[in-house]
């Protein structure tokens, strides 16, 4: 006797075009330290999210490219990425291209993307995805949750362009919420909720988004000398009113608010190159895929 398919599979999928449209994809990665190197011990995927085989361009650190063949999110997509870095393991995750957030369908169904990063004591995780481009009318929720134990280290960023400024296609409708939550040993250290709604006064007001189309946030935790890290960034990166850095509750936050995606990307790359020797004791080793 054949068991009936779960009802979800019959009713919720990406080929229907109503409010129940839904397409799930998930990826779970687990890294361990073993035999002097970091190994990708667990890799479980569901739907269109994959990884290529790990690279070791600098020996010890495991570099992994996350692939999402559709290349963007449409209404109803639900992406869940989780990475667990065990004690002493060191992993660097990136993506081969910018992610696109497409205009919501006629039912205004939202997409969701959730990233969960767990790092154990002595582990290091670098979360360096390429930028996200939100097309006008896109609706969804992007969240990044970072849970650290003991002396775990983590550096990551999220850069987002609203609309396509280069093509003069501004973000005039839609609504995106970006969430960050970072906890160490259960204590919340950094919580941020960023509703991006072009019809809200906050979107244009100086206290809020200031009408800017590009924003980026870089975080770093576990730096042995936070003061030195901030001084290094302020000394070496050209000053501008479009970026600033601060350290609060042992979390370094560098923020960009401007209109040039290239500028935001270059800022993140430069800050990473300056911080990596302080955080990981090694020079930055930019993934080759960034240059292809």
């Amino acid at each position: 006797m054949t068991a009936p398919l779960p009802e979800r599979l019959n009713t919720d999928h990406g080929h229907r075009f109503d409010a129940s449209r839904r397409w799930d994809a998930s990826l779970e990665l687990g890294f361990i330290h073993s035999g002097g190197a970091t190994r990708l011990k667990r890799c479980h995927h569901h739907g269109p999210l994959r990884v290529q085989r790990p690279f070791y361009p600098e020996g010890e650190v495991c570099h992994v490219y996350l692939l999402h063949p559709p290349g963007g999110l449409v209404s109803g997509d639900r992406l869940a990425i989780s990475a667990h870095v065990a004690e002493g393991a060191q992993a660097l995750l990136t993506t081969p291209a910018a992610a696109k957030l497409y205009r919501a369908d006629s039912h205004g169904v939202a997409w969701q993307q959730h990233t969960r990063l767990d790092v154990e004591d002595g582990g290091l995780l670098e979360w360096l995805p390429q930028e996200t481009i939100a097309f006008d009318g896109s609706k969804g929720r992007q969240s990044v949750e970072i849970a650290l134990s003991g002396n775990a280290r983590c550096l990551g960023w999220e850069a987002m362009a609203l609309g396509r400024p280069a093509s003069r296609l501004p973000f005039e409708s839609g609504r995106i919420e970006q969430h960050f939550r970072l906890v160490r040993d259960g204590r919340p250290l950094w919580i941020e909720r960023q509703p991006l709604d072009p019809h809200h006064p906050r979107f244009h007001g100086r206290w809020g988004q200031g009408g800017h189309a590009v924003q980026a946030t870089l975080w770093a935790v576990g730096l042995p000398d936070m003061k030195l890290a901030v001084e290094t960034l302020r000394e070496h990166i050209a000053p501008s009113t479009r970026w600033a850095v601060t350290v609060r509750l042992d979390v370094l936050l560098l923020r960009y608010l401007g209109d040039e995606l290239n500028e935001a990307r270059a800022l993140c790359h430069e800050a990473w190159a300056l911080l990596r020797p302080l955080l990981a004791g090694r020079e930055a080793c930019p993934p080759r895929i960034w240059f292809t």
Partner: protein
């Protein structure tokens, strides 16, 4: 509790003469002057209205109401949780420092008045948490405590503007007239928001506050 005594207790708590040093902090406003984002009465009114609607109404005021209830219930776990949540939402070093230093100064003052809470005091009390305690201990209802907190914020921001912009005293009074109804509306909002609606970050304020750390000439500590 005697309401007359409660009202006086609230006035005492929100008075600029309260010796906790609130006058020394600008919450990024001094930096907004330096950047030219806020340069006159009109732009100051827009900045304050924005920070009131997106900042206070979504962060300090709703947390104040939650802490007021938690002190009343003597729920130490809840007090700790909202205190940590509030600090984690502070975008910059100076904004965290302002909250913790004012909170600590208020604890010191309460100690001198023999008014310290018997239970529930945490290591890094935020100003909001201790404001809620003081109001609750003096029999001030949550809504009145929120009105008082918002009022003290508005008066302090205008004092910053009078010193640093500079803004004239009459202009400051005009802005109060204009923003008083918005303060009431912000408290109506704050009472309505669910936990998930709280805490939108203010990117412009966050940048201004982080730049303030390196601002060459400054009168204020934030």
């Amino acid at each position: 509790m005697n309401t007359d005594l409660g009202l006086l207790g609230l006035l005492q708590l929100v008075s600029p003469a309260l010796p906790i040093g609130a006058f020394a902090w600008s919450q990024g406003l001094e930096s907004a002057f330096e950047l030219g984002w806020v340069h006159d009465e009109a732009s100051l009114g827009a900045w304050l209205a924005g920070v009131l609607d997106d900042g206070l109404a979504r962060l300090e005021l709703p947390v104040l109401a939650r802490q007021h209830a938690a002190w009343q219930a003597q729920d130490g776990a809840l007090l700790y949780q909202w205190n940590a949540w509030l600090l984690a939402n502070r975008e910059t070093r100076e904004l965290v420092e302002e909250d913790v230093q004012l909170g600590t100064a208020l604890v010191r003052l309460l100690k001198g008045l023999d008014m310290l809470p018997a239970h529930g005091l945490m290591a890094q009390p935020a100003y909001v948490t201790m404001f809620a305690y003081t109001a609750q201990a003096r029999g001030v209802a949550a809504r009145q405590a929120m009105l008082g907190f918002g009022w003290a914020w508005l008066e302090n921001q205008l004092a910053v503007a009078c010193k640093a912009l500079p803004l004239g005293q009459s202009a400051a009074q005009r802005l109060i007239e204009q923003l008083r109804p918005r303060l009431v509306a912000a408290i109506d909002d704050a009472e309505r928001w669910e936990d998930n609606d709280l805490g939108p970050a203010l990117p412009g304020l966050a940048l201004a506050s982080a730049w303030h750390e390196t601002q060459y000439s400054r009168l204020f500590r934030s």
